[in-house]
């Protein structure tokens, strides 16, 4: 096998590894949000335990990436593939951690009945954030710069919802000091979702950089 084709094979494998990890992260985000909506402690525990595997995968793929750069010394687009690989991995790992954070919040919230009811924005934010993660990864799979750019609008929407949730929860806390605990956890959750959306835009930025070589802020 010529060095070039073995290198191409390594790059294809790298993308596959990243997508494998991405599938786990997407699942973790989905499960954590579901565990919150249903206040399902068992589901939350599963998300928290599953993170170990994601972390392991992360280190393993990152090592592969580093080895690839060290041994093949890629240039131009090949180098960008390796570098964006590391960037996307990092974003994915952070998102998985936020999923764990949401699952932890679920565990804290599960003891008592939910008296605070502004939960309508949170599922909406969760839906948007999940859509963004999916869009970012789809853009990565297809090298679709247009799709990556379109994520901007979704991120704005998430930020807007976050601001709204924030105000509403603050109001609720000021009115009723008994629900401060609950409201704070919910506030955290909305913050985590907002961060997940931000990391999704990072993936979009990485895709744009990968395809065009230009850097662009999406959020």
């Amino acid at each position: 096998m010529s060095p070039r084709s073995s290198f191409d094979k390594a790059l294809a494998e790298l993308q596959q590894d990243i997508l494998r990890m991405a599938s786990l992260v997407e699942q973790a985000i989905y499960d954590s949000v579901q565990s919150l909506v249903k206040l399902d402690v068992a589901g939350a525990a599963q998300v928290i335990m599953g993170d170990e595997m994601i972390d392991e995968l992360y280190l393993e793929i990152e090592d592969k990436c580093v080895k690839l750069i060290a041994t093949q010394q890629p240039i131009a687009r090949d180098l960008r593939v390796a570098i964006t690989g590391i960037k996307i991995l990092l974003s994915l790992e952070r998102m998985a951690d936020h999923a764990v954070d949401i699952a932890r919040a679920t565990m804290c919230l599960s003891g008592q009945p939910l008296t605070v009811k502004p939960l309508e924005y949170i599922p909406q934010m969760a839906r948007l954030a999940q859509q963004m993660v999916k869009d970012g990864l789809d853009a990565y799979v297809h090298g679709d710069v247009e799709k990556a750019r379109e994520m901007c609008a979704l991120d704005d929407e998430v930020d807007f919802l976050f601001a709204k949730t924030f105000r509403e929860l603050i109001n609720i806390m000021m009115e009723n000091s008994k629900v401060v605990m609950q409201s704070t956890y919910l506030l955290y959750v909305s913050r985590y979702l907002e961060r997940i959306a931000d990391h999704a835009t990072n993936i979009g930025e990485a895709v744009i950089y990968l395809v065009t070589g230009e850097r662009r802020e999406l959020n």
Binding site: A12, Q15, Q16, L19, R20, A22, S23, L24, E26, Q27, Y30, Q130, Q131, K134, L137, V141, H142
Partner: protein, 463 residues
């Protein structure tokens, strides 16, 4: 003249070369005898060359370039082209062979296309999703079911790794295993697309002598609905057992207390017996409801099929509930325009529908509220709705409230004496009448249940 020299040399080239040599010698002779000077000889030679070249062009070059042109077109796929060269020389034979080749190719291609179309049609008409992967785990094809479930396009996924098409960890793991072990496997997996769906996955390795060529074919059967039904069934059994046991436990408890001596105290005994009687009644009612439901579910019941004036039914039901509404301080209103069409059905069953709906509305509306029953005609259908200003139904419960034994809040509904079966009966009666029921609700504001029935004399003959 059909005789041939060996090696396919025919008389034509021999004759033409012979002719040329003769002319050459004749010209040499003429020049030698000084009958013709050099210029004249050259002129004659030129003239003859032009004639020969023209002949060559007509007989050889033009047909050859036509054949060439046609062959090129055929290569581009236009196999319906035919050459019309009927000369009996080599060129004519060549043209014939080309035509024959095109015909042969056309036949073979038609055959292959037909087979391919048939395979594609079978693949397309399958109710299960099909994904074929090659040895490297790259997608060869997906059928329309897969395209629809995962919202992808065949063109976009060809040659991609499965993870680039359906991002699911377990799916990739299973396919990898099937490719590696070359053993068929069957599993149930959950894929979020984008709602979670449960699939029964069946992966079969493709047997191929050439190890490079093999691959794996994956069948995905969506079993989400069946799983849901299974869950509902077990929930139903659990619910029924629970509902039957609750009054029974209570009856047994009081019975034991009576046997243990309470029987001697007339006053207590009487009180206990009253409770037991009420519980027995509850048990009877539960079993009656269950029987009703199962009869309606089996669609055997609409005995008395007749024209029904819904206004009449509604007024009857409302007058039944008036005292109860007054007691709870709820305003019971009706909005019934005149001239509504007549519907076909069983008046008692339709009354049962209204009874269940109005009863629910009164139960879940706090004092001072309002329950409104209205009817209207809407293109060939009669629409009846029961609106309340009660507690409402949370959005996540809305899709489930017509299920048997589903209750939004178990504790509260038991307190109110419900067993979670009323709306299931309503749904089945409406369905048996060829109608539809729907519900809208805002928690804290109230709910609106509305159903439509086909109107007119000829409406809905039974099933």
């Amino acid at each position: 003249m059909n005789w041939k020299l060996p090696h396919g040399i025919t008389w034509r080239p021999v004759a033409s070369y012979f002719f040329m040599v003769i002319i050459f010698f004749a010209l040499l002779q003429l020049v030698a005898a000084q009958k013709l000077n050099l210029t004249g000889a050259l002129a004659v030679a030129l003239l003859l060359s032009v004639v020969l070249a023209w002949l060559l062009y007509r007989r050889v070059v033009a047909p050859l370039s036509e054949i060439n042109e046609t062959a090129r077109e055929m290569a581009r796929g236009r196999l319906d082209r035919e050459l019309h060269l009927y000369s009996r020389d080599e060129i004519g034979q060549l043209a014939n062979s080309v035509n024959e080749m095109a015909r042969q190719l056309r036949r073979t291609i038609n055959q292959i296309t037909e087979e391919k179309d048939r395979a594609r049609a079978i693949l397309n008409s399958m109710a299960d999703g099909v994904i074929a992967l090659d040895r490297q785990g790259q997608v060869l094809l997906v059928n329309p079911v897969v395209e629809e479930i995962f919202n992808i396009k065949q063109e976009d996924c060809q040659g991609k790794n499965i993870l680039g098409v359906i991002r699911n960890f377990d799916l990739e793991l299973l396919l990898e295993r099937a490719l590696k072990t070359q053993q068929p496997l069957t599993r149930e997996i959950k894929i979020i697309a984008p709602e979670p769906r449960i699939f029964r996955l069946h992966a079969t390795p493709l047997e191929e002598a050439d190890r490079e060529k093999g691959g794996v074919v994956v069948l995905l059967r969506d079993v989400t609905e069946r799983k849901k039904l299974d869950d509902m069934r077990s929930e139903f059994v659990a619910n029924v057992s629970h509902e039957l046991r609750t009054p029974l436990t209570s009856i047994r408890g009081f019975l034991e207390t009576l046997l243990d001596g309470a029987l001697d105290d007339r006053e207590t005994a009487r009180h206990f017996l009253e409770i037991m009687s009420a519980e027995t009644e509850r048990l009877t009612r539960l079993i009656d409801d269950l029987l009703d439901l199962s009869k309606i579910e089996e669609r055997r019941v609409v005995h008395r099929w007749q024209p029904v004036d819904m206004i009449d039914v509604i007024s009857r039901v409302l007058s039944m509930f008036r005292p109860q509404a007054r007691e709870k301080n709820i305003t019971l209103l009706s909005r019934l325009p005149s001239g509504l069409p007549v519907v076909q059905g069983d008046p008692d069953m339709l009354a049962q529908v209204l009874i269940n709906l109005v009863d629910n509305a009164l139960k879940y509306t706090p004092g001072g509220g309002q329950v409104t029953v209205s009817a209207a005609a809407a293109d060939g259908r009669l629409e009846v709705s029961v609106a309340d200003t009660g507690v409402g139904i949370p959005a996540e419960s809305l899709p489930r409230i017509f299920e048997r034994f589903y209750r939004v809040d178990k504790a509260r509904s038991r307190e109110l004496g419900g067993i979670g079966i009323g709306l299931a009966i309503v749904k089945h009666i409406i369905r048996a009448h060829g109608g539809k029921i729907q519900v809208e609700s805002t928690p804290g504001r109230g709910s609106v249940f509305s159903f439509t029935l086909p109107a007119g004399e000829g409406a809905a003959t039974l099933m």
